[in-house]
């Protein structure tokens, strides 16, 4: 399904975005953001003007610095990456004086991704971010690489509901809940999150996977399993967005998983997403998020109805 021969896009010249979107009331210059954990301002700023993106979603922050998992953290899968960072991050206090002000200063729309090992952890971070200049919060209840918090919360609708209810009281900022696909029925946690006060949902986080070194017979990643992401997960992410959109016609959705071209981003918009985030593609193509945004813009030019719907905060389905 190639729309037209891809013309060379110059990512470095000034650009007026023609097709904005709106996610939970927050305007995005275009429907493409970065996915948490694959964007560090200090690294990416050398490659392009990150304020050009629809939004920048930063790496999950916890109340105190976390050191993540030891040893080898990554393996390659067919058309995918397997990662087990374990949410290494310098903590919310560092984030509040470093990444966040820098990103806001250059005019980026910022989604602050929140990590925790316990309800208290999440609450502490959200409380601190409540008065910050962050535009949106994304609650990561879907990381498969930590033993407490993360996916264990996102897979349990009761725990999730309790957590989101508590966080809701701590902030008026638009709160996105990021869901895991590692559940039997993703519409269950989706509904739980929305009923507890989530303003939007983002999905999917990574899928539990692993590789084995056939020379040693041992797992490549020290943590044994990790999370699969990248092109391989595209059909899985699309189906989850479709399912959640079918179950919850009104909730804003950010589609994530396997996006590395504008056309794949477009599939998510047709599946019912308001916007998308680009993750692993940035590992093999540092400018991927911006390139996807520009490619998508060209595709939206020939789809005025979809473009208008998004610009007014609606979705295709």
């Amino acid at each position: 399904m190639v729309e037209n021969v891809r013309h060379p896009i110059n990512l470095y010249e000034p650009h007026e975005w023609r097709h904005p979107t709106v996610v939970a009331g927050v305007p995005w210059k275009n429907p493409v953001g970065t996915a948490s954990g694959t964007f560090q301002y200090a690294a990416v700023r050398w490659f392009y003007d990150v304020s050009q993106l629809g939004a920048v979603c930063t790496k999950g922050v916890s109340p105190v610095p976390w050191e993540g998992n030891p040893g080898v953290r990554t393996a390659e899968g067919p058309a995918s990456n397997v990662n087990a960072v374990g949410l290494q991050n310098p903590g919310v206090d560092h984030y509040l004086v470093d990444d966040l002000p820098k990103l806001k200063k250059i005019g980026a729309t910022v989604i602050s991704n929140v990590a925790g090992h316990s309800d208290d952890d999440y609450a502490e971070v959200v409380a601190k971010l409540a008065d910050s200049p962050a535009d949106m919060l994304e609650i990561n209840v879907s990381c498969p690489n930590v033993s407490h918090g993360g996916m264990s919360v996102g897979a349990d609708p009761v725990a999730l509901s309790r957590l989101i209810t508590r966080l809701r009281r701590l902030t008026d900022k638009p709160m996105i809940v990021k869901l895991t696909p590692n559940v039997t029925d993703i519409t269950v946690p989706a509904r739980a999150a929305v009923e507890a006060g989530a303003d939007a949902l983002s999905l999917i986080n990574t899928i539990v996977g692993m590789r084995i070194n056939t020379r040693t017979g041992k797992p490549i990643i020290d943590h044994v399993t990790g999370g699969v992401s990248g092109p391989a997960v595209l059909p899985i992410g699309l189906a989850r967005v479709w399912q959640v959109r079918t179950a919850l016609p009104e909730i804003p959705i950010i589609g994530i998983g396997g996006i590395d071209t504008g056309e794949k981003a477009l599939e998510y918009l047709y599946a019912g997403a308001n916007a998308v985030e680009v993750g692993a593609a940035a590992l093999f193509d540092p400018v991927a998020p911006l390139r996807v945004a520009r490619e998508l813009e060209d595709l939206l030019d020939s789809r005025p109805q979809l473009a208008e719907t998004l610009a007014s905060g609606g979705t295709w389905r």
Binding site: R6, G68, D260, P286
Partner: protein, 276 residues
């Protein structure tokens, strides 16, 4: 490679003109040679990397098979004009593919990446490499050879064939090498200890720059520790991005888990807590 994107060398100019770092781009292979069984030296034309790479910096090479999307990092081993060389061993599917490249083929690259060896100081640099750790030290020898007041001694350990002596001896003031039938780099360091410990005219201590397998690196750091020499070690770790965005490539240091790609690959023995 996937229909996904088709980056050409033009993007380098576009990026640089706009004040940014070149993205992944496509370059032409100008030569490839088998140095030893399963060890290849690959040369490509890349004016940007040629002009900017410093010793211990590396480049990400990308497979043309989209089943293999992750970058393959390789240390720059030599630069001549616009041409950049790497030396690599065939160990997996990516390197097997690269070994089949021929002059005129193209490949995608990103770089130069990482922080180089710190070599501001005029000193006697002892370049210690084991196995496929040789490339950055060949390049260190090349870059240092231009400087008066700097002396270099290459101390290379191989499994079998001495495949890199040819290159490093073009630049190093002295090259000593050994293979597993005789010993390892520590054997050589001990053998030439007296010369290596000599303090040069300007009074600065010899500096050890090292790259190689982990056990060798630890032994070199220990040797440096024993003799109280500064020692910089270029580390390896499996990577996700190679440019600092994913935190997949960490190594444990006394300052916590640092990124090999962006905080390294070069760390001092003090940072690693080795050889104290």
């Amino acid at each position: 490679m996937s229909a996904t994107f088709n980056p050409t060398v033009d993007v380098v100019e576009q990026a640089v003109e706009a004040g940014f770092f070149p993205p992944r781009h496509t370059v032409e292979i100008t030569g490839i040679r088998e140095l030893a069984s399963g060890v290849m030296r690959l040369t490509f034309r890349d004016p940007y990397i040629a002009a900017h790479a410093r010793p211990a910096q590396f480049v990400n090479l990308f497979s043309r098979d989209p089943m293999h999307l992750m970058p393959r990092p390789f240390g720059v081993s030599e630069v001549e004009g616009d041409l950049v060389s790497v030396i690599f061993a065939v160990v997996g599917e990516g390197t097997a593919e690269f070994a089949t490249l021929t002059a005129g083929d193209v490949i995608d690259v990103l770089g130069p990446l990482g922080r180089p060896f710190r070599t501001k100081e005029d000193a006697h640099y002892v370049l210690v490499a084991g196995g496929l750790g040789v490339p950055p030290l060949i390049y260190a020898a090349q870059c240092l050879s231009a400087r008066d007041g700097v002396r270099t001694t290459a101390v290379f350990g191989y499994r079998h064939e001495h495949f890199a002596d040819e290159f490093v001896s073009r630049y190093a003031d002295r090259t000593e090498s050994i293979d597993e039938s005789e010993g390892n780099v520590i054997t050589l360091l001990d053998r030439f200890r007296d010369d290596l410990l000599t303090v040069d005219g300007n009074g600065s201590k010899p500096v050890i720059l090292a790259c190689g397998p982990l056990p060798m690196m630890k032994a070199v750091a220990a040797w440096a520790g024993e003799h109280d020499l500064p020692c910089q070690l270029s580390m390896e770790q499996r990577m996700g991005c190679g440019y600092g965005t994913c935190v997949l490539c960490t190594v444990d240091t006394v300052d916590g888990r640092l990124k090999v790609c962006a905080d390294g690959p070069v760390f001092t023995r003090e940072q690693l807590g080795w050889g104290e």
